[in-house]
């Protein structure tokens, strides 16, 4: 009997590597709805922008599956899971037994109830196929509107702009990147995009997608009455976890599939990881769906370890983080970056508009809990260390961090020694 993994995203890759760390023999079966071997999902924007070719999108070398004794069923959707019988059933009706099961089904784009949204000319941007479609499309059209000013929306807009399309972004919030960034950082990015000719409309939303009688998209009408002409719309306002399989199988779900530190769901032998999972968060200390790449991989990895081993390997907890560049302007944000007034956080910011540099640090209870960096991201990792390891921050250390000079020598001595200079065996 095999380990079975549903989904072939990065959580799945992490799980394969985790399982193989412990168990090198038991076969693994991966069932995936998509028809390509695993690829770097975020790379689709690089692909669409023409920065990399198809040859570079795959996440692991071609021999990855074979070398790890993994059987992959591509283009196969799983229709049901039976946790009592320990089987899964594919849409084609094939019943497969599993030893342990991992649900790594990720999420699907959220489609809001906008008038005119059904029909041709409306796209998403979460899969390689979407990227192919948009690439194709961009050869035929001139104008596009992207709904959603989050990370995926902006990356889509940037990539489409690279293809010469006149591009507009519509964002309901007061700024772009509202989740991960604050006003200043959001505006620095917005500025960068606008400089490259992308139109940004914040504080409003698309009320209707305008179509010709034949159903062809000709524009959008915004809540503020403004109309934007375009031949296509890309909807990128977030993903919702693909919960159906779990729900139908009676596995506990909330916003995502509920898992504990070990990525174990409410049903024994069934694990979940990645964008579909609601796992404990490192800072919030409660279950969160954090649909980002590094979490997906590491949750998958830990799920894999736990599936294959008796000994529990708890995940250190999810940590929201994003590093993205827009037209060469690098940004990084990690942890808790937009605390509310009543959270008792200390926030320090530094802005150098002339050079497009911004830094924001959030402290709570003498710990660093979040940061945003724009322009200068070189020391991001050193800040991350303080958050990841929950290091104590003395006033001197705080001063250095605020001044933009993090260093491993600011770690408490004991922490430094155990991490960097473990005693010789």
């Amino acid at each position: 009997m095999s380990y079975v993994i549903i989904g072939n995203g990065v959580a799945s890759v992490g799980a394969i590597e985790g399982i193989r760390k412990v168990d090198t023999t038991t076969p693994i079966l991966v069932v995936s709805e998509e028809d390509t071997p695993t690829y770097g999902r975020p790379l689709i924007s690089y692909f669409l922008a023409g920065k990399i070719g198809l040859d570079r999108v795959s996440l692991r070398p071609d021999e990855f599956y074979e070398k790890n004794n993994v059987e992959v069923k591509l283009d196969t959707r799983v229709a049901a899971v039976d946790t009592a019988a320990k089987t899964i059933t594919t849409e084609a009706g094939e019943v497969i037994e599993y030893k342990e099961l991992l649900l790594a089904t990720g999420g699907v784009p959220f489609m809001p109830p906008i008038k005119g949204i059904d029909g041709s000319g409306v796209f998403n941007f979460t899969t390689l196929n979407h990227a192919h479609m948009l690439l194709d499309l961009s050869k035929r059209i001139h104008r596009v509107v992207v709904v959603g000013g989050g990370l995926i929306g902006l990356k889509a807009a940037e990539a489409l702009r690279y293809n010469g399309l006149s591009t507009a972004i519509v964002e309901l919030g007061s700024r772009v990147l509202s989740a991960a960034f604050d006003d200043v950082a959001g505006n620095l990015v917005a500025q960068q995009l606008e400089d490259k000719g992308i139109t940004i409309c914040c504080g409003t939303t698309v009320e209707e997608i305008l179509r010709t009688e034949q159903g062809e998209v000709i524009g959008v009408r915004l809540a503020n009455g403004q109309k934007l002409a375009c031949e296509a719309v890309v909807v990128a306002i977030g993903v919702v976890p693909s919960l159906d399989l779990a729900k139908d199988a009676g596995i506990a779900v909330n916003r995502g599939i509920k898992v504990d530190d070990n990525m174990s769901t409410s049903v024994e032998g069934v694990y979940a990881a990645g964008d579909v999972a609601e796992a404990p968060d490192m800072i919030a200390k409660e279950g969160r769906v954090t649909p980002i790449w590094p979490n997906a991989f590491s949750q998958g990895y830990h799920a894999g370890l736990n599936m294959a081993s008796e000994e529990a390997s708890p995940h250190p907890g999810g940590l929201p983080m994003n590093a993205i560049s827009f037209y060469g302007l690098p940004t990084a944000s990690l942890g808790h970056v937009n605390p509310s007034e009543d959270e008792n956080c200390e926030v320090f910011t530094f802005t150098d508009e002339e050079n497009g540099v911004y830094r924001k640090l959030v402290f709570r209870d003498e710990k660093l809990i979040g940061y945003v960096l724009v322009g200068e991201v070189d020391f991001a990792g050193l800040y991350t260390g303080f958050i990841r390891f929950g290091l104590d921050i003395t006033p001197d250390v705080k001063e250095e961090l605020i001044a933009g000079k993090p260093s491993a020598l600011l770690w408490p001595e004991e922490e430094f020694d155990t991490k960097w200079t473990p005693a010789a065996e």
Partner: protein, 146 residues
């Protein structure tokens, strides 16, 4: 596996390890050409010496067992070599998203702005002894299994 371990008690902050790293990763393998010409076209050391008061220490990638950088890498450029245990980097694949740079809590990934790619210690692929360890005049770096 053998890794490079620093010893801050005896590191004198001379930065010679950085120069050695630079030279070892240069095309010319000549310290003067590396520093004068190749740096201008994007050569950078993976080693970084940190100074604070009387303390100095030279750090680079720890080649973690369960590395955050690999978790974060969206392109597959970073991966764990099962045989050697090293955290490896394939520059060809890297798209310069800086995810790893942010994720590595040790600050061991650096940005090569010229190339739009990252730089990370490779334990001097192909050398018996990493250049920094060999160059350190005070045994403040050792290459051993712990």
């Amino acid at each position: 596996m053998r890794r490079v371990y620093p010893n801050k008690d005896v590191c004198i902050g001379c930065h010679i390890c950085e120069v050695a790293c630079l030279t070892a990763h240069s095309a010319s393998n000549d310290v003067v050409i590396a520093a004068k010409e190749e740096v201008a076209t994007g050569l950078q050391p993976c080693k970084a010496v940190y100074d604070k008061g009387q303390l100095s220490v030279a750090l680079s990638c720890r080649h973690c067992d369960n590395p955050s950088c690999v978790s974060a890498c969206i392109s597959g450029a970073l991966y764990k070599d099962q045989e050697t245990g090293r955290t490896c980097y394939n520059e060809e694949q890297c798209v310069g998203c800086w995810s790893c740079l942010m994720a590595c809590p040790y600050g061991a990934v650096r940005r090569n702005v010229t190339k739009g790619k990252i730089i990370k210690c490779d334990l001097c692929e192909g050398r018996e002894m990493p250049a920094c360890v060999q160059a350190c005049p005070n045994n403040a770096l050792v290459y051993e299994s712990r």
